[in-house]
């Protein structure tokens, strides 16, 4: 288990960013992600996909980070989705009720496809 959180991101589409998280997302690493997200969003990104394949642990404070942005993004027509959650992470999502708030998909492509559709709808 790595002690730190590492964040890498990749632009999949205009306004769509795939962010891969690796390591531990807890109260200590949450501010790092928070800063990263506010930077990303201020660059015009509306659709965020988090790939959590390599995330080892997430705490409620870590989940709180997403909550800080979801409202704002959704108001502007954007969204946050999660992909490739492992069993452990999913169970935490489930315990805290987050699976009810966010779309959880199995692959990156699926999410990007959903984002595209949503974008089309918004643009119409």
């Amino acid at each position: 288990m790595t002690e730190k959180l590492s964040i890498s991101s990749q632009k999949a589409e205009e306004q769509v960013e795939i962010i891969s998280l690796k390591g531990i997302l807890d109260a200590h690493s949450a501010p790092e992600l928070e800063k990263f997200l506010s930077d990303t969003i201020s660059n015009g990104t509306l659709y965020l996909l988090f790939n959590l394949k390599e995330l080892d642990y997430i705490s409620s404070a870590g989940l709180g980070v997403f909550m800080a942005f979801i409202e704002d993004l959704r108001n502007r027509g954007g969204d946050i989705k999660f992909a490739e959650l492992n069993e452990k992470i999913y169970s935490i999502f489930e315990l805290l009720g987050f699976h009810l708030i966010y779309d959880i998909v199995s692959t990156n492509n699926e999410a990007v496809e959903l984002f595209k559709q949503k974008k089309l709808r918004t643009n119409e």
């Binding site: 531990i24 807890d26 109260a27 642990y57 705490s59 409620s60 404070a61 989940l63 709180g64 909550m67 800080a68 409202e71 452990k88 169970s91 935490i92 489930e94 315990l95 805290l96 009720g97 987050f98 009810l100 708030i101």
Partner: protein
């Protein structure tokens, strides 16, 4: 002109006496028609004047500083203006005397005494030599040559005694015999002084170039003077040779010894001079660094240390003007300058600095010609500044560019690597000092913050029920382990009626003081809702609608609410994003995991839609175990699922008779896993007992699920 202010009455009197003496001597010489050619006379005068110009002040110094106790080098009292002043004064005095005597006297009726008068001259020189040597010796004292001084003093005393005996007791004795005795003593003295001479190199080598230059000059004059003295011999009018007088011998022997010593001094000084400049520079560098370290350790304002840095840079870089700036984004602020007036150069300096792109300078760098700058842009106007070469040193504090030190010099190719190293060490000290400065401020800030945290913590803990509800129907035990910082765990009980009790456990997560504040808010909401509770689900929905859109999105509140109905023997469980609860009934422990979203995350309609309520039947002896994530994170070593599993095992396998014992069992395990809590850890255990009333069978679930 500073020098003339410092002349004391003593100096003037001394001058007057010496001048008078020389005027008298020359008056006698020239009146006697002593036939010097003018040019030789002048050369002679020049050297004697120089000799006296060098010895007289040391005599003066020795008298001022109580002769032996002086601890400073006599040469330190010299400076160029002082030396030239003495030299010119004596020379002019001689020259004037020459003309005055020729003009007024012109005859040779004093010729009779000329050689005898010359003796007076030698006496003066002898004494000045002895005294200057005494001064020298006294200066040597601190160099650890006490024995030598002692021996030397014995010689002086002995010599004086012999001289006095000769004068007063054997006036008829041939002077030449006396001279022989004195010669012997002074030869011995010479040996001592020669030995002594070997020691001088130690201090010459480490003296400053300034003193060494003085020494070279001094020794040249001394050497020439002594050569002249050694070659003199006169026959008096009475037919006696000067060499028959002991004063003459004293002078000659002393002169020979001194000549040797001064040759040594000259040689050593001349070879030490180039080295001395380097040594002096290094000594200055070491001193300035240690001084800087001292200042850096203890300063009140950043400005103070900035001023020290520019001053040291100026002095150690051979008077190169220094500027210290603090950067702030793309702009800068001049903090300190040294070596020029800022006000008169304002515009030029700002124009010069604005053209440097400080952000691009990552390491200390030398530009030995302003034309050769590559990654620094200068406008042409910058050349009106007297800088032809500059050093730019970035000051990094916590890996961030904090400022720059700029040292400029008016000549090209001025700075070298050594200069850069020294300036770098200044800058490093400065950056450490700045960092310490901030650390101290941070510590003070942190102290304040921690104090506030403690207060918040106290407030927060005061929201917990002072005592657990006392009832025959249920037995409760709780445990809360507050974390170092403000956590947000809470539990509460609301008694609706004698047979209905709401049990709440929750966690307000968020940074700092916020959690405590929201807990107060929650407590108020619970209180206001407590009057009218139908179901636990309804209760939480109301809580959500009270808080939704009203709280910081960073704050995350989770609550599990139980509505215990002892009449019906049922418990309603609703979970708003909080961890599941454990129920131990009989021998089986189960996890009750209903679905639900945390408080205030989503609109109340959506919240209500997703909030699942579950009715469990309870029996006597059943345990309901509620907890927060802090607790299971410790038990599961950061893994919540493991923690829940672990807790389940304890509940299932351990032996306990009441909630209190179960809590203790869990605490044992918690303590085993560590005592450093990141988050609050809370455990609430309820045991149902004395359920005597019959359950209502036709319980309307739909009513609750609405």
């Amino acid at each position: 002109m500073e020098f003339f202010k410092n002349i004391k009455p003593f100096t003037i009197i001394l001058f007057a006496v010496i001048l008078l003496l020389f005027i008298l001597t020359d008056f006698v010489f020239f009146a006697a028609g002593f036939d010097y050619s003018l040019i030789w006379k002048l050369i002679d005068l020049l050297f004697f004047s120089g000799f006296l110009a060098l010895t007289i002040p040391s005599i003066k110094t020795s008298i001022y500083s109580k002769v032996i106790s002086t601890s400073k080098f006599a040469w330190k009292f010299y400076d160029n203006t002082k030396f030239l002043f003495y030299l010119l004064l004596f020379f002019l005095a001689y020259f004037c005397a020459y003309f005055v005597i020729n003009f007024f006297v012109g005859s040779n009726y004093l010729k009779l005494f000329d050689k005898e008068i010359h003796l007076v001259f030698f006496i003066v020189i002898s004494f000045s030599l002895v005294i200057s040597q005494l001064v020298w010796l006294s200066n040597m004292k601190r160099k650890g040559t006490k024995n030598l001084i002692f021996r030397f003093l014995i010689f002086i005393v002995f010599f004086t005694i012999v001289m006095l005996i000769n004068f007063f007791f054997f006036p008829e004795l041939e002077q030449y015999e006396n001279a022989k005795i004195i010669d012997t003593f002074f030869s011995l003295l010479g040996v001592v002084l020669i030995f002594f001479g070997f020691r001088i190199k130690n201090w010459i080598a480490i003296s400053s170039p300034y003193i060494i230059k003085r020494l070279i000059l001094y020794s040249i004059f001394m050497i020439v003077s002594f050569i002249i003295i050694l070659n003199l011999d006169y026959q008096t009018q009475k037919g006696l040779y000067l060499s028959n007088f002991m004063f003459f011998h004293l002078t000659k022997v002393m002169s020979a010894i001194f000549l040797f010593n001064y040759l040594r001094v000259f040689y050593l000084s001349a070879i030490s001079l180039p080295l001395a400049k380097i040594v002096e520079q290094k000594v200055y560098e070491v001193n300035s660094l240690s001084y800087l370290t001292k200042v850096a350790r203890n300063f009140n304002k950043l400005e103070d240390i900035c001023n020290v840095i520019t001053e040291l840079s100026y002095n150690s870089m051979n008077r190169s003007p220094s500027i210290l700036i603090f950067n702030e984004g793309n702009s800068f602020e001049i903090k300190s300058v040294y070596g020029f007036e800022l006000s008169s150069n304002d515009k030029e300096i700002y124009a010069f600095l604005k053209n440097i792109n400080f952000g691009e300078i990552k390491t200390s760098i030398i530009y030995n010609s302003l034309d050769s700058l590559e990654n620094v842009r200068f406008s042409n106007s910058s050349h009106s500044l007297p800088f032809q070469s500059i050093c730019i040193l970035p000051i990094f504090v916590r890996d961030r560019l904090f400022g720059n030190l700029i040292v400029g010099n008016s000549s090209e190719q001025f700075f070298d690597e050594d200069d850069l190293n020294l300036l770098s060490s200044f800058v490093e000290t400065l950056s450490v000092a700045i960092e310490n400065h901030f650390l101290i401020n941070d510590t003070i800030e942190k102290e304040k913050y921690l104090k506030e945290l403690r207060i918040a913590r106290e407030i927060q803990l005061s929201f917990l029920p002072k005592e657990l509800p006392k009832t025959d129907l249920i037995e409760i035990s709780s445990f809360i382990q507050p974390s170092e910082e403000v956590g947000g765990d809470f539990y509460d009980f609301i008694k609706i009626s004698d047979s209905r009790l709401i049990v709440l456990i929750g966690d307000v997560s968020g940074k700092g003081l916020g959690a405590a504040f929201y807990m107060a808010l929650l407590k108020g909401i619970f209180f206001s809702l407590s009057k009218n509770i139908e179901t636990a689900k309804d209760f939480l929905i109301k809580v959500n609608s009270s808080l939704f859109y009203k709280i910081d999105r960073q704050i995350h509140i989770t609550i599990t609410a139980l509505l215990l109905d002892f009449e019906k023997g049922e418990v309603e469980v609703v979970r708003a994003g909080h961890l599941p609860m454990l129920v131990n009934s009989g021998n089986t422990t189960s996890v009750v995991k209903t679905s639900g979203i945390g408080i205030s995350l989503v609109k109340t309609s959506f919240f209500a839609k997703k909030l699942e309520s579950q009715i469990l039947t309870i029996a006597n002896g059943d345990y309901l175990i509620l907890f927060t994530d802090g607790l299971v994170e410790i038990l599961g070593r950061r893994d919540i699922n493991n923690g829940i599993e672990k807790l389940k095992q304890i509940v299932q396998n351990e032996v306990y008779n009441n909630p209190k014992e179960l809590v203790e069992k869990v605490i044992e395990d918690v303590k085993r896993n560590g005592t450093n809590f990141d988050d609050d850890a809370t455990l609430l255990v309820l045991k149902v007992k004395n359920l005597s009333l019959t359950k209502v069978n036709n319980y309307d679930r739909e009513a609750i699920n609405q």
